[in-house]
Symmetry: C2
Subunit: 438 residues, 2 copies
């Protein structure tokens, strides 16, 4: 029997996880909770130090759980990538951002593959979890790994793809109980991968190749991008037609089949939906294929923050005020409710445009104490600090803009004390002359 299979059987394998962000850390903990030794790798000395001292930095993880697996030395973290040689399985959870030209930035995956290739021992199972375009695992990763290691796939190591499905803030589904898709290059790799992941994940769904698994993740997020874009476009038209899109969606939801509700908003944020579909657009070019739905969806979403600025401008204008010099308070900078993540948040882009137009911008977010907008956030480019959400803060603002629907926001209190509200998230339900809605 192969050594790795024996180690899987007696739970003595060591799992290495590359990248300790919102995907890697929960995954590491899921394995550690199954009693499997986990080494977490990250270039950030700060993150590594935090983990090794049992300090949690991911909202969806309970502090006590992290502390327990660290104290029992089941989970440890390191910046030393040569320790890859201690691992039997390596799961890659590094970022796959887009560059400033909206092209996939594969440098994190490439660097991970170089590190692994130079350090892994024979008999290692490797799996990529990062979202990427179909063919990445076989066409990009495999050659690097074989070249750097001098080892041969399916004899000396196995390569697979298994996309993360982490949904920050989701109370029902977390790493362990969310079914996971797995595709490997070889049959043996699929078998080994299934046995390893089954230690930490309740249900695995096996597919015939890495590229099928890669397309699965892209389909899931493209579905969301396209539907959010559709409802955003219909919201803009509804606004012009005097139709309340929120009322329309509530009514459509009563259809008991063939409909899933999406809600409009000031744009798309986070680390997945604004990015993933453009990975597919990137690889489609290689096949001379134009993805018109993704293209149209991207177009709408890129313009949403600008439309929102027009809404704010119109609201101020109705009170005979220009943006220039007006005090504008933003409520919520997280890209979705009840989370502490402002990555790609449309609120930041709107704030940025308003600042450029001379607006005096402040913000409140209960979960995010400081943000840096894309451009010149404040004079000198210093980050903005979240202010307290007091009646005075609301009264002082010429316009209050609701950019995130955090559940803790008190709609009545906001409505009572604000002079003018632009509600981009349907937080204010009671009709009022001073409320402008998306």
């Amino acid at each position: 029997m192969k050594e790795i299979l024996k180690k899987i059987e007696d739970n003595s394998l060591t799992v290495g996880i590359l990248g300790l962000g919102y995907v890697g850390l929960p995954l590491a903990i899921s394995f550690a909770q199954a009693g499997i030794k986990v080494i977490g790798f990250d270039k950030s000395a700060e993150k590594v130090e935090k983990i090794n001292s049992g300090e949690n930095y991911i909202r969806d993880i309970r502090d006590a759980v992290l502390r327990e697996v660290v104290e029992n030395i089941i989970l440890s973290a390191t910046t030393d990538f040569t320790r890859i040689s201690e691992c039997d399985a390596l799961l890659i959870c590094v970022p796959t951002p887009l560059d400033i030209f909206h092209k996939p930035d594969m440098s994190y995956i490439e660097a991970a593959c170089v590190s692994i290739g130079q350090n892994m021992k024979p008999g290692t199972f490797i799996s990529l979890e990062s979202t990427t375009y179909p063919t990445t695992t076989e066409d990009l990763m495999l050659p690097i790994l074989e070249r750097e290691s001098g080892l041969k796939h399916d004899t000396d190591f196995w390569l697979a793809y298994s996309p993360e499905r982490v949904d920050p803030g989701n109370k029902d589904f977390h790493t362990k109980n969310t079914p996971k898709v797995l595709g490997a290059i070889s049959k043996e790799g699929l078998d080994i991968g299934e046995k390893i992941y089954s230690k930490a994940i309740d249900h695995l769904h096996l597919v015939s190749s890495p590229k099928v698994a890669e397309m699965v993740k892209i389909l899931e997020n493209t579905y969301r991008l396209v539907n959010i874009s559709l409802i955003n476009e219909l919201a803009l038209l509804s606004g012009k037609m005097g139709i309340d899109i929120w009322e329309v969606i509530e009514a459509a939801k009563t259809k008991p089949f063939g409909f899933q509700a999406f809600y409009p908003g000031p744009g798309i944020g986070g680390h997945c939906i604004p990015l993933d579909p453009f990975y597919l657009e990137h690889i489609a070019k290689k096949y001379n294929f134009d993805l018109t739905m993704i293209h149209a969806a991207g177009h709408i979403n890129m313009r949403m923050p600008h439309y929102m600025v027009i809404k704010i401008t119109s609201a101020l204008n109705s009170q005979k005020k220009p943006v220039n010099g007006s005090k504008i308070l933003f409520l919520g900078v997280a890209y979705k409710p009840n989370i502490d993540d402002a990555r790609e948040s449309p609120a930041l882009e709107i704030m940025d445009i308003i600042i450029k137009k001379g607006g005096v911008v402040s913000y409140h977010d209960p979960y995010i104490s400081t943000v840096q907008t894309h451009g010149s956030a404040s004079p000198g480019g210093a980050p903005l600090q979240s202010i307290d959400l007091s009646p005075t803060a609301l009264q002082t603002a010429d316009c209050v803009v609701i950019t995130t629907n955090h559940a803790v926001f008190d709609a009545e209190m906001i409505q009572e004390h604000s002079r003018l509200i632009v509600d981009l998230r349907h937080v204010i339900k009671a009709p009022s002359d001073k409320v402008y809605k998306l």
Copy 2:
């Protein structure tokens, strides 16, 4: 108390239903089953005769149910629209097709309004069920009704909009148990409408205006159009990339939140999804608004039958055969499985193109015995007749094209006897060299 309210209370009102198609007839029966007298109006003497002799022509209705309400003289049908004067409520279920330039053809609604306006008695409740663009009820129907009747809205009659949600072939949801959205112009109209519809429908969802209700229906069907288009586009790309899109969808479906599966196909058919979104596109022009998502979706779907022809051509070409002179057998012409409706079915368009290219076309559909394709279906433009699905019929064909996934189709039998298969509906699950899939 108003007369209509009294009649509602003691179940003595008469409901008139204009248009006795797949929407009107089930609705008529739903009221009749509640013991309410129903007069069905239709221009087709054939339909009226059938109903009055208890003969059913809608697959989703059980013959015995129709016979019972007709025999008890609860439901009767007529071509005489002056009998509108006998009705207390009038529900309009006429077609709203697109004309050959893909513009809404409102002539059926207009004609219904003229008939009603000229014949209704004071105190009548009127509701439109046909899908149409937002503002139709108030801006198009109301002026015609007031002009033709000389009566005043909210004093002498009430006007509402309540979109049909009939899903042919759906075993779980039918007219009575599918929640129904209702929006009326006036508060009194909404109240009366709710009381009337509640006789025949289990759950009503009230909205603030007809235009909100109109937008609800458009949203529901636009959601479907856009998602089918998206998956069709991804299917085409996947084909080029050697990825099985059906396997991708099955895997994506294991995501327990935020995903709803749609399936690719040779194009979009039926009376709703290919049409309704373009109603919205039509009215959007009035607001100088370009609906890019619908536009892109329409573009993909218009091209799908042409791509399917390319698939058929490629499959034949692999066997060194041209389309011209080859025998091509189509399985299924209904626009979706297990129904007897070929309206707007993409199969017809594909057959038409193949015929024009010189292909010798035949078809089998267990539910549709004869079809007329759009153009010159067969020499002289005569309709095609469904042939028996025998081993010989399959063996004789140079290519068998599966255009509808009727549940009764025997995949093994088809695969065994066919020489070459183009499967556009994922009917053939077993891999084979002679099967080309979408």
